[in-house]
Every structure is written in C-alpha cells, then in structure tokens.
C-alpha cells in the first residue's frame, strides 16, 4: 500500500513541482496568456454547448488543482474529494436560496466564498480525523467517509433535496450594471475570474513555508517530525486549504447548473473522477491538473456525446496513459519543452508527424470496428447503416469489418515500426542533452 513516499505520482525525472520565483518576464507572460485565454475563449468557441463546457472547465480547474494539493504536493491519496466540493455546492445553493428570499444579503459574485468557507469548514471537521493518518490508512478513511456522506445524501432529503436535488435561480437580486448572471456568458466570466484568482493563489501556495513542508511530509513524514513540524498538523492545514478551494469550485458548479443533487455531487464516483483526471493531467506539475480538468470535461461531455463507446475509449486511454506516460499529459509536454530548450524539437518533429499519421490510421480502423460493434448493439433499431466520420458503414456487412481490420492492422504495424525508430532517435537526443548538461550548458 501506498506508504507516503510510495505515493509517487510521478516518475522521478518529473518530480519537481514548479517553484515560484520572483516574477520574471517569462512568468508574467505565462500568466497574462492564461488570463487572455480565459477572456478570449468564449469568442473562439461560440456554441452554447461550448460555453457550458468552458464554464465547467473553469471550475474543474479549481477543483483539480485543489485535489492536487493533496495528491501531488502532499502525497495524500483521497477518495473523497467530492465530499468537499459537494458540500460546498449545497451550502452555496442554500445560501443562494436564502439570499433570494431576502434572508441573506450576499450578492451572487461572492457566493463562491460561501462555498469555499463551507468546504474549509467540513475539511477542518472531517480532516481532523482523516489527516491523523497517512498512506493507505488515509486513503481508506477518505473512502469510508466518502461512502458515508454519499449514503447520507439520500437519507437526508431535507438538506440534500433527495433524488431531485436542490434548485435555485442565480438571477436573484437586482443586478449590477446589467449583470444579472442570467446569461451563461456572464456566469462564465464569473467562473473565469475565480478560476484565475484561485489558480494564482494555489500557485502561490506552492511557494510558501507550509507548501514546502507539505512536500517534505509527502517525501518523508518521519523526518519532518524531527525538524520541528507536526506532520498531522501539516496535513490537516493543507487539507483545509484544499477543502476551501474545493468548496469554491463546488459553489461555482452550483451557480453554473443552478441545481445540485446529492446522488452525484458527493458521490465516490465523482471523487474518483477528480483523482483519475488530476493524475491524467499530471500530478507532478502545477499545471497538470488544469489539463486534467479540460480532459475531464471533454471526456464526460463531448466524448460521451460523440460516441456510445466512450467508456471503452476512456478505459483504454487510462490504461495506456498510465502505462506509457505515468507522469500525465503535463510530463509529456515538459519533455518536449526540454527538447525545445535544447533546440532539438525540430529533429523529432518529423517522427512525431509520422507517428501521428500512423496512429490515426490505426485508430481509425479500431474505432470503426468499435463503433460498428456498439451500433449493432445499441442502435439496432436504426438498421445496420451507420455514419462514421462522414462515411456510411454497413455494420452487418463482413466487408466493412474486413476493411476496418485491415486499416487497423496496417496502421498498427506502421506505428510499431515507427515507434521503434523513434525510440532510438529519442534516446540519442536525450544522450546529447545529458552530455550538454554535463558540460555545463544548463539552460
């Protein structure tokens, strides 16, 4: 079981979390770019679905980052993070309903703070028992508490609204300068603003004494006790901070959907999702979970709509990612950034392109077969004809199966050949870089 030092979410090479140094030019540029992306996104992706997806990505970034305070920075594998996002959502939605009834003079723009405080409150409370232990014991306690809270959500309809959940109307209050938060775009900007601020705060956290000691606790809790720190305290404080941001994320979700239900907001499945995608994004890097958040939305909203086989694809993607890129997407990116720094990126680009093409061919064949299989099972009522990437396939004809299989095999074979070649190139490039580093050409 994961003893804390074994909760190594990243291969050693990728282990170093970014550390804030005084604002340098590059850093300012990156943050400005992030802000710009947040502002510009709705102008680039304009459909209403895209807008909801952007909003979801916005608050999920906060949630996944908050989860990574536990997993990546503190080595705490939690199976119950949804408890804090979910309870944050519920407290917020109750607060919004009270505000709508005129019992609570809080404008909507500040509601996320209510969620944050609620998240922090429950994290203080439950964290007191969970964070007394680390490693597997911690993981299992969070699993137990997660299951308990999830079960409770159905038992106390008075608070959780039962199966139907609690609904609200975010357009309460008079509005301010025409901002009523009715239109989805206004909500998006609310979320984007919080997303930016929370991301900045959590990034700042990695550079504070508590943040650093938290890393030390992850690496070697025993030793931390001998340099004056109470590890339980450290975990507890970090847990609370994570709870606070989780609560903010949960609150924004409540504002976005105007409905919160116990059955999924606090479920262990939800918690599992945060874990999976934080990891997939890359727990070893500060920005990894942000990628994870985007992937989570793409997978659950877009992928599930594009294909009935989405869970199959998701399962496969997980399996392969963990096997071949255990540092997550972020580590892949950083590897290439490293190449670029040493001016080697161009050397591997043709290989990337070739691999990409071969991969696509293989994927095309495989996906065609998967889609036909699912079509036969789920859409049988529509007949054997199906549309796949603009083509029409006859799922009952042997011919389409054979063609797909051949496409797949050709793609896969080409991919394998190219991959071997690529690996050789890759290691050659790495050796060269190592040598240059050894010669002191550090960048």
């Amino acid at each position: 079981m994961p003893t804390p030092s074994q909760v190594s979410t990243v291969p050693p090479t990728a282990a170093r979390l970014a550390q804030p140094r005084p604002l340098s030019g590059g850093r300012i540029a990156i943050w400005s770019l992030f802000a710009l992306a947040l502002v510009a996104a709705p102008y680039v992706f304009t459909s209403s679905l895209a807008l909801t997806m952007l909003s979801q990505i916005g608050y999920l970034i906060i949630i996944c980052l908050s989860y990574n305070i536990l997993l990546g920075q503190g080595g705490m594998l939690s199976f119950g993070h949804a408890v804090y996002t979910g309870l944050g959502s519920f407290m917020t939605i109750h607060a919004m309903n009270m505000a709508a009834r005129g019992e609570l003079p809080i404008p909507l723009a500040f509601m996320p703070l209510v969620g944050g405080l609620a998240g922090a409150f429950f994290a203080v409370l439950l964290g007191f028992v969970t964070t007394r232990r680390a490693g597997t014991t911690f993981a299992m306690i969070t699993l137990g508490i997660g299951e308990l809270v999830a079960a409770m959500a159905l038992m106390f309809p008075e608070f959780f609204g039962g199966e139907g959940g609690i609904t609200t109307d975010r357009t309460y209050g008079k509005g301010f300068l025409g901002i009523t938060f009715g239109p989805a775009i206004q909500v998006y900007y609310l979320i984007a603003a919080y997303c930016f601020v929370c991301t900045a705060l959590m990034f700042a956290f990695t550079g504070t004494p508590l943040g650093r000691i938290l890393n030390a606790v992850r690496d070697n809790p025993e030793r931390v006790e001998f340099i004056g720190y109470n590890t339980q305290r450290v975990r507890w404080f970090a847990f609370t901070i994570a709870g606070f941001f989780a609560g903010i994320g949960g609150a924004l979700a409540a504002i976005n959907f105007e409905i919160v239900t116990g059955a999924d907001s606090v479920s262990t499945i939800r918690s599992g999702g945060y874990l999976l995608f934080t990891f997939l994004g890359g727990a070893g890097f500060f920005f990894g979970p942000m990628i994870g958040a985007a992937l989570l939305v793409f997978a659950s909203v877009l992928l599930s709509e594009l294909s009935k086989a989405w869970l199959l694809y998701l399962g496969l993607a997980f399996l392969f990612m963990v096997m071949f890129a255990p540092g997550g997407v972020a580590s892949l990116i950083m590897l290439n950034v490293r190449l670029a720094r040493f001016g080697k990126l161009r050397a591997v680009l043709p290989s990337y392109a070739a691999l990409f093409v071969a991969g696509c061919v293989a994927l095309l064949g495989a996906a065609a077969m998967v889609e036909m299989a699912y079509h036969l099972q789920l859409n049988a009522a529509l007949g054997p004809q199906m549309h796949f990437l603009g083509m029409t396939l006859d799922a009952s004809a042997a011919q389409s199966w054979v063609v797909s299989a051949v496409v797949f095999l050709v793609g896969a074979a080409a991919f394998e050949v190219l991959r071997r070649r690529f690996l050789r190139l890759w290691s050659a490039v790495q050796v060269e870089i190592e040598q240059r580093i050894a010669r002191g050409e550090a960048v």
Binding site: L154, G164, G165, A263, V301, S304, A381
Partner: protein
C-alpha cells in the same frame, strides 16, 4: 408540416446503474418512431437523438444543451425524477429567456407526483401514471381482497420509495382501515446484495402482503431472497416487475404471488400488441415502455390539430387534448398535464394460450387480473400552472 422532420432528443441513461433499462427504452423510442414514420396523420418524420444523461441531473442539463444545439425541440425522459426536475427547471428558464425557441418535454416514466403538483410546469407533459395514481389502483384492488390483512412496506431509501410508502399508508388507512401495517422498511438504493435479513423480518412480522416500489436489482434480489427462503404465502405488490431484468429473477418461484400495477400489460392486443411482437422479434427483448406509443400518437394528433410542429403551439393544443391511446381514449389533463388513463393490476403466471407473451424467455408473463377506468385512479392535483402570457 407535411414531410417535416421532428427531432426528438432522448435524455436517459446508457451507462451506469440503469444502463440496461435505458438501452431498452432507447430502442423502444427508435423502433416506435420507425413504425409511426411508416404512417401518421400529420405526415412528419420522427428522428430520435439518443443522449446519455448518466442518470445525473447535472449531466442532464449538459445533455439538454447539446440536444438544443442539435436542433431538437422536443425532449423525452423517464428515468428518475432528479433529471426530470432538472429538465423542467432548465426549460422554464430557457423558454422564458428565448421566446420562439421553446422546447417541450414529454415525460414517459418519471412518476414523482410532485412533477404535476407542487413542481408542475407548462412545458412538461406526463404520459405515465404517477405514484399516487398507481397506489390508488393498487389499494382499490386490495379493498376487494379481504385476504390482505397484514401489509409490509419495503422500499428504497430515496424520494420514490418514500412516496410509495407514504401513499400506501394514507390510502390503505382510507380504504382498508382494518389492514395492519406490520413493517415499513427502507433499504438504500442499489446497495443491498443480500435481502434475506429483510425476508426474515417480513416472515417474523407475519405479513401476508408486501408492497414495494423497488426496481432493478433491488426488486430482483428481494424476490429471489423470498423464493429462496420459501416465503410462499406472501404476495408482492410491485410497481416495476416487468422492467428489464426483473422477470428473469422472478422466474417460476414467484408465480402467482407477484402483482404489478401499470397502465399497460404484456398481453395487450391491437396495435401495441403488434409493435410489441415486432420488437420482440427484432431484438429478442421485451417492450414494456408502452407510454412511448402515447408519445407519438399524442404528438401526431397535436401536430394535426395545431397545424404546426412548433412546440409553443403544440403545447397549447395539448392542454386538455383527447387522443387515442392503445387502450381507448385518453386525456391530457389541462390543470397539471398529467395524462389520465386506465390502469391494470396484473399477476405473474405461466404463459397460456390466452396470455402467450413470454417475458424475457422465462415462460412466464404478467396476466391482467383487474382493469380500472381512468376515473378510478385519478388523483387531484394542487398544480397552479403558470402559462406564458
């Protein structure tokens, strides 16, 4: 109107706990759409867009938005009052904020009475009978059966289960004050593997009748455990005995002891019978969501009457409209948009020449034992419908 394509978005689960049920229902919508496309009075073509809402209200709102992006102006949904409420809530807001782009919601199976009472909406129309109506029929049936003396209630611990329990108690008190309620249990939703402790408790209580709103494995395992323990002098009154999976679990052991209340049954003749048989032949699966038929026949009639497929116009003609169900004339009650229809009490028995429809190839079927006219099961409503001005 003629030749128009009407896109209907189906928002129900294709993954998770209810995947099997959702899959069956999606097939039913697709199949019945084909049937109606062959011949309908308004001359439209129906197209079903199936979207997985994962049984989650939040996912449902995403799914709804995507449905609207794809041009669907009718949505249908049936599993769970949570997603139902989410749709109602979202449509109330959307339709108010986007006049001319209204979307209309047909609920074919979510039976929470609140949906046509405290939470009723102008854009929501329910084709199924709600929990209270079904309980009305069930208790009326018990009124004529004096052997029902001690009733045990066992339900899932969430909104639906609580409603079943509440209505059972209220109505029995009214109709059979002599009946003793010897137990009122709630087991968590889809968590219990082993129902034998509950069976022991039922046996201990001396109950002769069990009323349960359980569905899915919670029903299958309950009945299985009862069969195993040899609890054969107790009858089970159920809501969802025919839903995917349950007939297989009922098997021979439950014959003669399991009753079900529904607006339809597996051996109805006529048009619905033809479709059911066709469905079975095509998919080797039971078609039990017969309300789907109502969905199409009602829309078809409304299109003709409104001379349009525009949801805003269709909604106004639907109010109080009478149309042909597979079982005589039915009415969409104006006050709360709850369809008024007759209800059957059926019992699990061996198939016979008269009732040949084999459920899930078990050799058994639900045979009708009593039919109640719409007025019997009709329940009053507290709905204060807000209509767009």
């Amino acid at each position: 109107q003629k030749g128009e394509t009407v896109k209907i978005a189906w928002l129900d689960p294709l993954s998770g706990l209810m995947a099997a049920v959702g899959t069956n229902q999606l097939k039913t919508w697709q199949y019945v759409a084909e049937e109606f496309n062959k011949k309908n009075a308004s001359g439209v073509k129906f197209e079903i867009i199936g979207i997985d809402n994962k049984l989650s209200p939040q996912e449902t709102s995403s799914a709804l938005r995507s449905a609207m992006d794809q041009g669907a102006r009718y949505v249908v949904q049936g599993n769970g009052s949570g997603p139902a409420l989410a749709i109602i809530d979202a449509l109330d807001k959307h339709n108010a904020r986007n006049p001319g782009k209204e979307v209309l919601y047909l609920n074919y199976a979510a039976v929470d009475p609140d949906l046509t009472n405290s939470k009723c909406s102008y854009w929501h129309f329910r084709l199924d009978a709600d929990t209270s109506m079904k309980m009305e029929a069930m208790t009326t049936f018990m009124k004529d059966h004096p052997e029902v003396k001690k009733v045990y209630l066992i339900n899932q611990n969430y909104a639906h289960g609580h409603q079943v329990s509440k209505y059972a108690k209220d109505m029995l008190k009214r109709k059979r004050p002599d009946v003793e309620i010897v137990g009122d249990d709630f087991a968590p939703l889809a968590q219990v593997r082993d129902f034998s402790p509950y069976i022991a408790k039922i046996k201990q209580s001396g109950a002769d009748t069990v009323i349960t709103g359980n569905w899915g494995t919670d029903l299958s395992l309950l009945i299985k455990a009862a069969n195993d323990a040899g609890l054969n002098n107790v009858s089970f009154y159920t809501y969802y005995g025919a839903v995917t999976g349950s007939p297989t679990a009922l098997g021979a052991g439950a014959a003669g002891r399991v009753y079900m209340v529904s607006y339809s049954h597996a051996n109805l003749p006529g048009e619905i019978g033809r479709m059911r048989d066709g469905f079975k032949k095509k998919f080797n699966d039971d078609m039990y969501a017969s309300a789907v038929y109502h969905g199409f026949s009602m829309l078809d009639a409304a299109f003709v009457k409104a001379k349009s497929t525009d949801p805003a116009k269709v909604a106004s003609v639907l109010e109080g409209m009478k149309f042909n169900s597979f079982n005589g004339e039915a009415e969409m009650r104006k006050t709360d948009h709850q369809m008024q229809q007759g209800l059957f009490i059926t019992r699990w028995e061996k198939t016979s020449d008269k009732y040949p429809n084999d459920s899930e190839n078990t050799g058994y079927t639900f045979v009708p034992v009593k039919y109640y006219e719409p007025y019997v099961a009709s329940t009053p409503t507290s709905c204060q419908m807000k209509r767009p001005s």
